[in-house]
Amino acid sequence: MDILITGLLLGGTYALIAMGLNLQYGMARIMNLANGEMLVAGGFAAFWFWTAGQLSPFLTVFLVFPVAFALNWLVYQVFLRPLVKRAKSRGQLEVDAILTTFGLSFVSVGLMLAFFGGDYFSYSYLSVPVHLFGSTWGANRVAAFGAAVVICGALWLWLSYSRAGMTIRAIAVAPDSARLVGIDVRKMAALAFALGGAVTASGGALISTFLTLDASTGVMFTLKALVIVIMGGVGEVRGTIVAALLLGLLETFVATVIDPGLTLAAAYLLFVVILLFRPQGLFGKRPT
């Protein structure tokens, strides 16, 4: 029971991070391997505002979101737009995007190392016990989960019911046909990419309330987010959420029962199983 709830709490935050990557990969068609660094940057911002000004991480989110949005929009326009233009096929774009975002991820790790040093950073915020279902939980975990649910829910409603959300889903499904019905694919792709980065950075600010981060942990989160996105089905919102909760459960289970050092290995095994038996993802449609 403890494992179940801890796992779900962790999975909720993972869902937020993976949702960010899904917007970037599923909708904007950019495999962004610098996604984890955006998360760490969000965490750094929360840490910095808390230690310097006692500003609650949950308020910092409101600051991190627009800043990360602008930053990712710029990254898309400056670095990725030329690649989209020059790519002859989707495969070519993927290779170029992977190499570029790798470069970007190294650059951002390097910058964060230069500014903040290589130490682990953590702070204690809301680390008071909460009683739920007969057990005790850290209030920060519960609050982060709540915030993640709110953001995920808002995002899902926006994608499903607003006009802009529908356009973004349209470019995810059929970028070529979307142009025929008058959608500015380039603009919407940039928007989706920026939004994805903003969501991930907010997830980072939330996750930093209960996890210890350092400048080079980004790639671990990128990997986990990728596993979640592929498990749920690329471009699928519901699938992402279910997959994130599953991964949260599995990780917590492995960490408590076997060894905390094996969490990534567990995620990886799950990935192998998915690739072997359902490569299109739990909720994905089989390519025709």
Partner: protein, 311 residues
Amino acid sequence: MSLTATDWRNLSLSALALLAAACLPWVVGNYHLTIGVTIAMYAVLATSWALFSGPTHYISLATAAFFGVGAYVTGIGLQHLPYWVLLPLAGLIGAVMAALVGLATLRLSGVYFVIFTLGLAEFVRQIITWGQNVSGTKGLYVLTSITERDIYWQLLGLAALVWALGWLIGRSRLGFALRIIGDDETVAKHSGINTARAKILLFMVPGAVAAITGAVLAPRYVYIEPALAFTPMLSFQVVIMALLGGTGRLWGPLVGVIPFTFLWEAISISFPNQTTLLLGVAFLLIVYFLPRGFVGLIEDARRRMGSEGAR
């Protein structure tokens, strides 16, 4: 297969160059021999990497995983088996691992493969660390009488093997099939090529070679532990060197390895804290300004000179 005059000329030139390189330990001091070993190591890794990733455009980030496994084969096996058995054994294990990775991912699109290989080194590292925790050991001492010189010659021999293999594959049906896959995978499928099988077979080459390289280099480290043997930096450096040189030609990666090793040596001495940042910048520069590497530059220059000569 018949060899043309140009083939014979290229082959004898390569053999001469290798012989010249083999004389290095008698000519230079210890410091330069160390750099020589580094260059030989990256030349082997980058060339074998490009054998697979060049024609198929599948970016493999698994070099560190194979390398680390190879190092552990030497580290553990040295107490039980004679040294000369270990290198082929490492190669075999590397090839089997590569085949398994290939079976899981190479039937799907390239992105899955990249992600999978990105995590592979970390996955193996976590498993080995866990195994050590359970068995209560920490690192491994690799104490041998193998000198830097022996390592250098072994690597040079391995490099010769990789080049010969690459040359043979390039002339074979498999090489031809891979070039078609790289151009257009759908066309390849429709012309009756078993694309997954071809890709898996070829991916076993860098897997085996990287594992053997790890096995050869283990004595150099003296003490190996998971964090050292599976350092992800290795995979990235191999990718960047191969891309810098250019993957279109067999000698391409070598053209990238030599300048990059010297550059990296200079960077690690002058800016030890900014290496990650500078590696990132190097990645970006190559993608935007040298998409085909030095090979592309050289070929463009040749073509220009050729067309001027014709006029």
